[in-house]
């Protein structure tokens, strides 16, 4: 894993991507910091941190676009997957290298609150919690980018899809409010989910019985839970979408609330996407 990590980290700096990422990140954080804190003489640094989220939308796809797709395209994955390395080591090594670039960029911005502290009082604990939040959020988005990169051979496609997915995540709170919250809408939603799941089962196993069984199980679970507890279906759409709202969780951190719950939430997101990436890469070799 260490060999993979070092190779990836070096490749970020031999290609321009590492510099582009760090440069853009620092330039825009610098602008925000100057505008929000220096020019308006405000000590609330978390406001600056929070606006970094918008930068993520543009630079995380750049960071992760080639992470796996390039190996697939240039066939260097043949070297990796025929070496005694485990796939997990390869993927995690690559993820950690991307994370390291992000970590470096974020660590440099620690200068800003230090500058602020020379002019007045800052709320160190609040800023720390804001940093932890933004770090976890960034790490999660990088894991999503990693996953997207494993889906395609083309770096451009990878970047565009990643951008689209991140944009969706950013807009999820707005989308959530526009969705109907009635009981019927929720039931329709659940049924669509059951249908999608059954189709997925069918296409991945090509087994009509497995698909039928999963449909029946899905339907019976829906009906039983509806009969047992009708209220559970009120606003279900909002609950489900809200669960995917990575940004909403972040706002707690920026208010200085460090909740273990949210930390676990982000970490499980990261683990899930790394796991999915490993599955996708592994699956491609099996099909």
């Amino acid at each position: 894993m260490l060999a993979m990590f070092q190779k990836e980290l070096r490749s970020y700096f031999t290609s321009a991507i590492g510099y582009i990422f760090i440069g853009t990140f620092l330039l825009i954080t610098g602008i925000f910091f100057t505008m929000y804190n220096l020019l308006s003489a405000s000590p609330s640094y978390n406001y600056t941190l929070q606006s970094l989220i918008t930068i993520f939308l543009f630079i995380i796809p750049v960071l992760t676009m080639k992470i796996i797709s390039e190996e697939t395209k240039t066939k260097t994955d043949q070297l990796l997957f025929t070496s005694p390395l485990k796939i997990t080591d390869i993927i995690v090594g690559k993820y950690l290298a991307a994370l390291a670039i992000f970590t470096i960029s974020l660590l440099i911005t620690v200068i800003y609150p230090i500058i602020l502290s020379t002019f007045g009082t800052i709320y160190a604990s609040e800023i720390l919690s804001g940093y932890i939040g933004i770090y976890l959020l960034g790490a999660t988005l990088i894991a999503i980018g990693l996953f997207v990169s494993s889906l395609t051979e083309s770096q451009v496609a990878s970047a565009v899809i990643c951008f689209g997915v991140l944009l969706f995540i950013f807009l999820i709170d707005n989308i959530e409010q526009a969705l109907p919250s009635t009981r019927n809408a929720s039931i329709v939603f659940v049924l669509i989910m059951v249908a999608i799941f059954s189709l997925f089962v069918y296409f991945s196993t090509k087994n009509i019985y497995a698909a039928t069984v999963s449909t029946l199980v899905g339907l019976s679970v829906t009906i039983t839970s509806y009969l047992v507890k009708k209220e559970a279906f009120d606003g279900l759409l909002q609950k489900v979408f809200g669960w995917f709202s990575l940004i909403k969780r972040y706002t707690l951190f920026s208010q200085g609330v460090l909740s273990l719950n949210s930390v676990v939430y982000y970490l499980s997101f990261i683990a899930a996407f790394i796991f999915l990436t490993i599955r996708v890469v592994d699956k491609r070799r099996w099909s």
């Binding site: 260490l2 060999a3 993979m4 190779k7 070096r10 490749s11 031999t14 290609s15 240039t74 066939k75 260097t76 994955d77 043949q78 070297l79 990796l80 997957f81 025929t82 070496s83 005694p84 390395l85 485990k86 070799r285 099996w286 099909s287």
Partner: protein, 315 residues
């Protein structure tokens, strides 16, 4: 050393490999021949564990590639069709990286790097970026990569493709050199190469093994003709007459005229009889000068065309 059992690979409805079986003994150099799209690369990708087979087993030195991939892959060096090179690394960095992912002990890396780089003659380009190297050098770096970690088995997918004739000879010699201590599977569509390097040849077409054996065995399988090619100075009719009078001659055929005043003749003798000596004696007694005589060549090209032409092939 390498056991391939009932390997089948399907992509949807398309069958890329159909029930392939063969074994390679320790120290053997096996040639893998086949037209484009026959399934050579697919077979090699399965043997190295890059992709999995739909059905069947691959064992390297008794270790199953799916059950214990790490241990099995340690024993394999693989040069794919397209050398897996990181173009923005220098040769040295790349070879070092390969050493590390192949889990060579860190104190053994330096001597091993020098040894391998001098073996494939890339020491002089060690500081250069791989993307700036010529195709021949890239191929050598690819070969160097396969040799890292001193694997017992080498799988080489078209190792001489894209090289100039001098480099081809160099790489070929290198493979022969390495073949003394390693078990090698080598794919190629250059027939002379396979007959020059390999102890045994497997011809594969449309995902099936259509012929296998030593180059000599194969040539016997395909045409049982006992042929001698001659170039004789003198008039055609008289030469023909002299040869026809000989015993054991089945057929005399013209083979064109390549030098003025001479004639090229194909003489087919009865089975299992070497007529070269008597041919020489009777022609010289009659006063004809033999300028060239060639025995029954191992002509893989012919075998190849023959077995890949009809789908049944020769078993």
């Amino acid at each position: 050393m390498i056991e391939i059992e009932n390997i089948t690979k399907r992509y949807g409805d398309q069958v890329a490999l159909d029930n392939i079986n063969f074994t390679v003994e320790k120290g053997e150099v096996l040639g893998f021949l086949g037209p484009n799209g026959a399934g050579k690369s697919t077979a090699m990708n399965i043997i190295t564990g890059y992709i999995s087979a739909t059905d069947g087993n691959v064992r390297i030195d008794g270790i199953d590639i799916l059950e214990n991939p790490e241990a099995a892959k340690k024993k394999i060096g693989y040069l794919p069709e397209m050398p897996p090179l990181y173009l923005d690394m220098t040769v040295e960095e790349y070879i070092k990286f390969v050493h590390r992912i192949k889990k060579v002990k860190s104190n053994a890396i330096e001597p091993s790097m020098t040894r391998i780089m001098s073996l494939v003659k890339i020491l002089d380009v060690r500081k250069r970026l791989i993307k700036n190297l010529s195709k021949g050098y890239k191929q050598r770096v690819g070969l160097a990569q396969a040799l890292v970690g001193d694997p017992e088995v080498l799988i080489l997918d078209e190792p001489t493709v894209g090289l100039d004739p001098k480099q081809i000879i160099e790489i070929r010699n290198l493979i022969q050199e390495v073949g003394k201590t390693h078990t090698i599977i080598l794919s190629s569509h250059i027939l002379s190469e396979v007959s020059a390097i390999c102890h045994r040849v497997i011809i594969i077409n449309k995902g099936q093994i259509v012929a296998s054996g030593t180059p000599e065995e194969l040539s016997k399988k395909v045409h049982n003709r006992n042929i001698v090619l001659l170039r004789v100075k003198g008039s055609k009719q008289e030469i023909y007459k002299t040869i026809r009078e000989m015993e054991d001659v089945e057929l005399v055929e013209e083979h064109g005229i390549n030098e003025p005043g001479t004639v090229d003749i194909v003489v087919e003798a009865k089975k299992d009889i070497d007529i070269r000596e008597t041919l020489f004696l009777s022609l010289s007694r009659a006063g004809f000068i033999i300028l060239m005589m060639k025995g029954n060549d191992v002509d893989l090209e012919e075998i190849f065309l023959e077995v890949t032409k009809n789908d049944r092939g020769v078993q």
